[in-house]
């Protein structure tokens, strides 16, 4: 693995909504404000909420936190919950990826169980997007993509066990380094949480 990837901290992960039309992104504004009030994610310093629903295919509604931002993301025309880690975490890249996944899955579970949403917002466990949000340490080049792909394979094995998965690198070199993971059979997010431990 390249030395740049060793130091990669800005990692993002997005889980897709099963039905992107089930909620309006703006419905998340009061939900996220309540999370701040109730410190719903106890290991996160939640700061503020930003509403970008007016921007097509954008970050939707953002829950700004010190460690990283959560957003009901509309990028690529698909609603999902994205978590973009900003602060430094410890451990190897695989550990950092796993930590980001744990945080994202915890937020997804909270949304699925949120009384204001009445169970309308549910997430797929069989598909996710991973990205490296750092063009210095992880430029979107074939070399870095290959090195990142190796770690990603380990991460996918950890997350999906024996379930067959395809990992497809995001091809556009102007975009940040990223990959799309798709499992061959249905998986629910709670299974992923269990596997991550």
């Amino acid at each position: 693995m390249g030395a740049g990837l060793d130091e990669l901290q800005r990692i993002g992960l997005k889980l897709f909504a099963i039905d992107g039309a089930a909620v309006r992104p703006r419905e998340l504004v009061p939900v996220f404000h309540r999370w701040i009030q109730q410190r719903a994610l106890s290991d996160q310093l939640l700061v503020d909420v930003a509403d970008y629903e007016h921007v097509p295919d954008g970050p939707g509604v953002v829950l700004v936190a010190h460690g990283g931002n959560f957003s009901l993301d509309l990028g690529g025309g698909r609603m999902g919950l994205a978590y973009n880690r900003k602060a430094v975490s410890q451990g190897a890249l695989l550990d950092r990826l796993s930590a980001v996944a744990r945080t994202t899955l915890a937020a997804c579970r909270l949304l699925e169980e949120d009384p204001a949403l009445g169970g309308r917002l549910r997430f797929r466990g069989d598909e996710l997007q991973v990205f490296a949000n750092d063009r210095l340490r992880a430029p979107n080049t074939p070399e870095t993509a290959a090195a990142f792909g190796e770690v990603l394979q380990q991460f996918v094995r950890k997350l999906y066990g024996d379930v067959a998965c395809t990992v497809t690198a995001d091809a556009d070199p102007r975009e940040r380094l990223g990959a799309h993971v798709k499992a061959a059979q249905p998986v629910i997010p709670s299974q992923l949480i269990e596997r991550l431990g």
């Binding site: 130091e7 009030q37 503020d48 509403d51 970008y52 097509p56 931002n69 102007r174």
Partner: protein, 764 residues
């Protein structure tokens, strides 16, 4: 192995800019070590466009109570009452709004990596990134510098972004293209020694014509409007120069300084105005420190006399006129040869979009296309895609606008349908540019510390409702401008809108209720020739109904081709107030609690989150800045010594003393310049021989450190000699600080450090 952006970008960063950013990074380190005063660091970062943001004092009202945000950096501050880890805003100056695709891609990447993946266009053609950590700002600045963008003086008490009409050069009725002049003004004033000691910001705008909104020169500190004059049969270019305009809480129309300033005189006069403003402008009361108050106090004639007197004394500078020879060479080149539309098939929606978003250039066969951005926002992905579109259709001819949009210039007509299709594909083909749906708003309570009510929340709501009405809207209504500010400071430019709003608060039954003052009758055209007046405050939740009612009355009661401004004047304020009256009532909290929260924010409304604004910057004297620089140089000398570079360490230590001495000399002799011999000579005469420097310290011994160091320049250096000189430099700089504090105390409160000065704005 590349490990830093500094190494990665290498020589792509212009050396001078790279050095400035290195210095800023060192200042960040020094601040973390507690070696820089809070207010000095605040003004330092502000002058690099690095702002604080709402809640950065670590307190946030969550709708129930005010909670402390426990950041990991604890009590470390990046300014008075501003926590280090709290998210901040980075403003990025885009002179006259000019952009190229490479710059757009970098902006997109920066927003994605360091902010929230949104690039926000401001009402002064800047970009802003929000939720940025200060530790990331040096890399942001390096990546921008590598594509020719500096954030220097994007904030603070300095010359802000130089703005200009986005149609300059392609406008059908401009006098001439002001672009090269805007470039020249920006380059000349950026970092100029005479613009470093203002009590407040200074904004410059250039217009190519009088009749349109153009550059909005009448609301700027310095406005330059293109005019021509024929003398002895020879046509000369020049500018109508106006001074002292500004919006803010109390708006002022600029005063005519001279109806014709020849092109070769605009830079020296701008310099002379800067000197007079720095010398006589208010420093203690920042609420009255803009040049508009100086113009008001002195009168424009007296100000002009002082400026011309100063102009006569200025040492000649080749830059005043050297740019003029480049003016005639300035030209934008279209990427493709002109070609007409010629009845090509037009996709669905094209005609509606074309009605509002296309402007035919004076160059036949070409158009300017406005990409209307909702609330001035564009995502990183959209920005990258727009860069790609620009690269294929127009090249380097992109500009931002003060209406928070982006324009693509030099689109050939034949390409319009295809371009529209591509913009549709990336969600950037919204029609209604510069119409009533193109609502302008400052950040307000979303991110601004001064915001009272949610300007963006209201703007989003109005836009949503107006777009839904679409073609039903009367043509007279479609041409109106709506502008919204979160507070009275007018960053949303509410004074120059047909329908302007600014956030206020009212106490109803023991609860705070968000309201907006309704400002009617402002004029957008003719460079914002008239300002509207506040008619009354209406609860925030009733503003959409107010817009409906006012526009209905306008459509029904309009006489002939009367404008909204003329309509307001004709029916009068009493009648206008009467229209608002029924909307001013607020139901009791128990009856309808929705009135007690703001648009887009479900928390119970409070003004408790307001902080002290940073737009005003910190009043830090030039001497304080110079001494802070000297301190930084001592630190750099220590680093050089540590790495075994003894001679450079000595040079840097000596230079630290020279910087400190210069800082003090400039308090008496602003034009001392950079020549070391001159600085030392003046320092000796003014501070050593008079015993003003370090009489309390070791009988003047510290002053001798500089004098000896100056004589010994270039000697062979050893670890020991470098170490000793660094120790001496450290003591010399300390003595400089003591000297500066003593002078400030002797001069009285007006010259006291800013931390002791009460700002009326903070009280407001």
């Amino acid at each position: 192995m590349t490990t830093t952006w500094k190494e990665q970008l290498g020589e792509r960063v212009p050396p001078e800019w790279g050095r400035e950013i290195d210095i800023f990074e060192t200042q960040i380190q020094l601040k973390k070590q507690g070696k820089v005063e809070d207010k000095v660091f605040a003004e330092t970062r502000l002058r690099r466009g690095t702002y604080g943001q709402r809640y950065d004092n670590g307190q946030r009202h969550d709708g129930i109570t005010t909670r402390t945000l426990d950041y990991p950096s604890g009590g470390l501050l990046k300014g008075p009452d501003t926590l280090w880890d709290a998210p901040g805003m980075q403003r990025i100056k885009i002179p006259f709004g000019g952009l190229n695709p490479e710059q757009m891609e970098v902006l997109a990447d920066l927003a994605e990596e360091y902010a929230d993946a949104i690039c926000h266009v401001t009402t002064r053609q800047d970009f802003q990134l929000h939720y940025v950590h200060i530790d990331d700002t040096p890399d942001i600045m390096r990546r921008l510098a590598a594509v020719g963008i500096t954030t220097r003086e994007a904030c603070g008490n300095s010359v802000r972004n130089v703005t200009a009409c986005p149609l300059a050069g392609v406008c059908r009725d401009e006098t001439f293209d002001v672009t090269p002049y805007a470039q020249a003004v920006m380059r000349f004033l950026l970092g100029h020694p005479d613009t470093q000691d203002f009590g407040r910001k200074f904004k410059v705008a250039l217009s190519g014509c009088r009749q349109h909104a153009c550059g909005l020169t009448t609301m700027h500190d310095l406005g330059l409007l293109a005019v021509k004059k024929t003398e002895n049969g020879v046509e000369k270019r020049g500018f109508e120069m106006t001074v002292g305009g500004g919006l803010g809480a109390v708006p002022y129309q600029a005063k005519l300084f001279d109806e014709f300033v020849p092109e070769e005189e605009i830079l020296p006069l701008a310099q002379a105005i800067s000197r007079v403003f720095a010398r006589l402008g208010e420093k203690r009361n920042r609420a009255r420190a803009r040049i508009k108050f100086l113009v008001k106090n002195l009168g424009i004639e007296e100000l002009k006399r002082l400026v011309l007197e100063e102009r006569a004394k200025l040492p000649a500078d080749a830059r005043w006129t050297s740019y003029i020879e480049t003016v005639s060479r300035h030209a934008e080149h279209p990427l493709k040869p002109a070609a007409p539309l010629n009845g090509a098939a037009r996709p669905d929606g094209y005609d509606e979009w074309a009605r509002s978003n296309i402007y035919r250039q004076r160059q036949p066969g070409y158009c300017v296309v406005t990409v209307a951005l909702p609330l001035g926002d564009i995502t990183s992905r959209q920005m990258r895609q727009l860069a790609s579109i620009a690269r294929r259709y127009v090249g380097d001819t992109v500009r931002t606008t003060v209406e928070q949009n982006i324009v693509l210039r030099w689109v050939r007509e034949a390409d319009l349908p295809a371009l529209y299709g591509e913009l549709c594909a990336v969600g950037l083909a919204a029609p209604g540019a510069q119409t009533v749906v193109d609502v302008v708003a400052c950040p307000g309570t979303d991110t601004c510390k001064l915001g009272i009510a949610s300007s963006r929340g209201l703007a989003g709501e109005l836009r949503h409702r107006l777009v839904a009405k679409g073609v039903e809207l009367d043509e007279a209504v479609q041409g109106l401008h709506i502008k919204i500010s979160g507070c009275f400071n007018s960053c949303g430019q509410h004074h120059i809108a047909d329908l302007g709003f600014y956030g206020v608060s009212r106490n109803i039954g023991g609860y705070q209720v968000p309201h907006f003052q309704v400002v009617l009758g402002g004029q957008w055209d003719q460079n914002a020739a008239a300002y509207g007046l506040a008619i009354g405050a209406v609860p925030s939740k009733n503003i959409p109904a107010v817009v409906d009612r006012l526009t209905e009355r306008f459509v029904r009661g309009r006489q002939g081709a009367e404008t909204f401004q003329q309509f307001c004047q004709r029916i009068g304020k009493k009648a206008l107030k009467g229209i608002l009256d029924e909307f001013t009532k607020v139901p009791a909290h128990g009856e309808d609690p929705s009135y007690y929260s703001d648009w887009g924010d479900p928390r119970e409304f409070t003004t408790g989150d307001m902080g002290t604004g940073e737009c005003a910057g910190e009043v830090v004297s030039l001497a304080e800045f110079g001494l802070a620089d000297a301190e930084r140089e001592v630190f750099e000398a220590q680093l050089l010594l540590e790495s075994g570079d003894f001679a450079p360490a000595e040079t840097r230590a000596y230079h630290a003393m020279l910087s400190a001495a210069k800082a003090l000399v400039r308090t008496e002799l602003p034009d001392v310049g950079d020549d070391a011999d001159r600085i030392v000579q003046e320092f000796k005469a003014r501070f050593v021989d008079t015993e003003k420097f370090d009489r309390e310290f070791a009988s003047g011994k510290f002053a001798q450190y500089l004098l000896r160091g100056h004589e010994a320049k270039g000697r062979a250096a050893t670890a020991e000699s470098a170490h000793q000189l660094i120790e001496e430099a450290s003591l010399f700089v300390e003595a400089g600080h003591a000297c500066q504090v003593r002078f400030a105390q002797q001069k009285g409160p007006a010259a006291a450090p800013a931390s002791q000065v009460i700002s009326l704005e903070s009280l407001a």
